[in-house]
Amino acid sequence: MASAPGIAIFGATSAIAEAVARIYAVEGARFFLAARNAQHIEAIAEDLRVRGASSVHVAVADLGNVEACAPLCEAAREALGAIDVALVAHGSLPDQARCEHDSASLCDALAVNLTSHAVLLMALAAILESQGRGSLVAIGSAAGDRGKRRNYVYGAAKGGIAVLAEGLMGRLARAGVCVTLVKPGFVDTPMTASFRKGLLWISAERAGHTIVRAVRNGKSTVYVPWFWRWIMRVLRVVPQRAFARLDL
């Protein structure tokens, strides 16, 4: 990369996305940021400029609106010239109990956490494929590795992203595009503000560093932090009869 890298972030006001952006900003990156809240995204843009970003474009958009997703990706390409790293990071933690009896809530949860991600990832994949280079970063979750009673709607959406991203890895490898699937465990962010935090939790800042390192090294799947790979590997082989008895 001769000039400053072009970074496109969808859901740029998420804490993990912000942490990632700060790391690239120090290196003088150029940014295209999309998120729903105009004031919040402007606050992040100012911060990135002070940290060293050479340019920051912001787009205020509701990423839940799938019609808007493809044009938004085009806007990112136009603003940046070429996209070196595209990160899709928006999401929300659905109310599991509510989704179980209210289908509208269920559809909302899937629309935010799966459908719009899928549309954005597909549109970005096409752009990166035509460029013949770049990195596409999808945020899945350790929760997507196995359905757990407490959060299986969220898990289903994140599991869907994981399968989609794995498919894209195969498709885009031929074009020289790297796909990185990030699976966070417990990250201390506004989305998880109501949880009690223990030893397994890490800060968004640390998550950001892990993600940037994984993208640089062209990793396909990265757990954040790393030990979730082993926790989930163990949980995946627990027989269903025993798993159902676990309070997870």
Binding site: H40, A43, V50, R51, D188, A193, L199, S203, R206, P225
Partner: protein, 440 residues
């Protein structure tokens, strides 16, 4: 590896633990959670020692998510940042560009808002005064939803009430700071032996005009008849840009009993003194961060004091009576048999702070950490606070756990001037304690 996740909402000294709820603040345009019946109190990095950042039964406004920069004028050295930004983040941005904070406390892991609320000071107080002197402007968000932009020229009374205002006048959302040019991030340090208060005073007289930073450390276990084993350090900024010092490690958990015990303290103090004496009378160039924040290299060092935590006494005694006062304090500590690692003496200068409740006064400050040994420690503090009061001194609220209302009123006779500016929806354990019965 998980050291950065939000720790429990406790004070740094951890000797009076309370249950309190925290609400994360992430956006400076957000309004405050509705106040009463639960009172609010800003909580930054949890580096205050006592109960100034505790609010039992209330809600803490956790500001670590308010950590964005807003604007940096590199030509003038003026930085605007959200109030939860840590000084370490400010320095990581500014130092490579030739700027530094004019005043830093003994740790860089405090928030800008906390530095304002406690009007912190550093080893260059005799030159630069307090942190608040270098704050140009800030925005104060009140529970009634109003936002007041305060500076020395706009809403000056609010500016003066909030600097050193212990977080009680509202939430500072952002602040604009004046930085200063530095030749590099090294310092030239000179260490000199210092064996009595009189010697400390004459070293200050000789050094305050020639050195930006001056501070003395002594072994309080060695105190006898006005003499002690001590080291006086003076330093000036120097060119060079060393890599930031790498941390030595984290204290990963609180051991079931305190590791800071008298025998360990005596051994540490003696070793520290000997290693200092080996460098005596030499000028060495060392990285600035290692000189200014030696304890920052051990993350969560407060855990070494064990489950009962520790208390710090930091007081200031006005110039004329400082020698008598400090000797009386040291006498009393020696008689108690309790002792401290790293007792620190520092002469404060005459620069006034804008803050009404700002702690430093022209004179000498003494700081010591005591492992909390229950009632014996609290009784010792009562005696020490009485000595401070008799000598016209005052105790630093940011470090305090047990100053009485009478101590507070004697130390801060103007304290009632802050009353009109307190946010009715805010409160703290310290404030309720030190004003109880005073008719606030």
């Amino acid at each position: 590896m998980w050291g950065n996740a939000q720790p429990e909402l406790q004070s740094w000294g951890r000797c009076r633990r309370v249950t309190q709820r925290g609400v994360e603040q992430h956006w400076r345009d957000a309004i405050l959670p509705s106040g009463p019946p639960r009172s609010l109190l800003p909580y930054g990095q949890g580096r205050s020692y006592g109960d100034v950042a505790q609010n039992s039964g209330g809600t803490l406004l956790c500001t670590r998510g308010l950590d964005r920069f807003i604007a940096f004028d590199e030509a003038r050295g003026v930085l605007r940042a959200e109030a939860g930004t840590r000084l370490s983040d400010v320095l990581a941005l500014a130092a490579p560009r030739g700027w530094y904070l004019p005043v830093v406390p003994g740790t860089q892991f405090v928030s800008v808002g906390g530095a304002i609320a406690n009007d912190v000071h550093g080893k260059n107080h005799h030159r630069r005064g307090t942190f608040g002197r270098h704050v140009l402007r800030f925005e104060l968000l009140r529970t009634d939803g109003t936002r007041i932009v305060c500076s020395a020229t706009e809403h000056r009374a609010w500016f003066e009430a909030t600097i050193g205002g212990l977080g009680l006048t509202g939430l500072v959302t952002w602040a604009e700071l004046a930085l200063e040019r530095v030749p590099g991030t090294n310092v030239d340090i000179e260490t000199l032996p210092c064996t009595s208060y009189a010697e400390f005073a004459s070293l200050c007289d000789a050094s305050d005009a020639t050195h930006t930073y001056t501070v003395a450390w002594f072994d309080c276990f060695s105190y006898r008849d006005g003499r002690f084993r001590g080291l006086f350090t003076r330093a000036n900024h120097a060119a060079g840009s060393p890599r930031p010092s790498s941390p030595l490690g984290t204290v990963p958990f609180t051991p079931p009993f305190g590791l800071v015990r008298p025998a360990a303290m005596r051994a540490f103090n003696l070793a520290y003194f000997k290693s200092g004496m080996r460098r005596a009378h030499k000028v060495e160039t060392v990285p600035l961060d290692r000189f200014l924040y030696p304890l920052d290299r051990v993350d969560r060092w407060n855990r070494l004091y064990g489950p009962h935590g520790f208390l710090q006494l930091q007081c200031a005694i006005p110039g004329a009576r400082a020698q008598d006062g400090i000797d009386a304090l040291l006498e009393s500590i020696a008689a108690s048999g309790q002792g401290s690692l790293l007792a620190v003496l520092k002469r404060f200068g005459a620069q006034p702070s804008p803050g009404i409740l700002s702690f430093p006064l022209e004179g000498t400050t003494l700081a010591l950490d005591f492992p909390c040994a229950g009632d014996a420690t609290f009784r010792l503090f009562e005696r020490l606070h009485a000595i401070v009061r008799e000598h016209g001194g005052r105790v630093y609220p940011a470090k305090d756990t047990c100053m009485s209302p009478a101590d507070f009123e004697a130390g801060y006779p103007d304290w009632r001037r802050i009353l009109p500016f307190l946010d009715p929806g805010f409160g703290s354990d310290l404030w309720r304690r030190v004003t109880s019965g005073l008719g606030a």
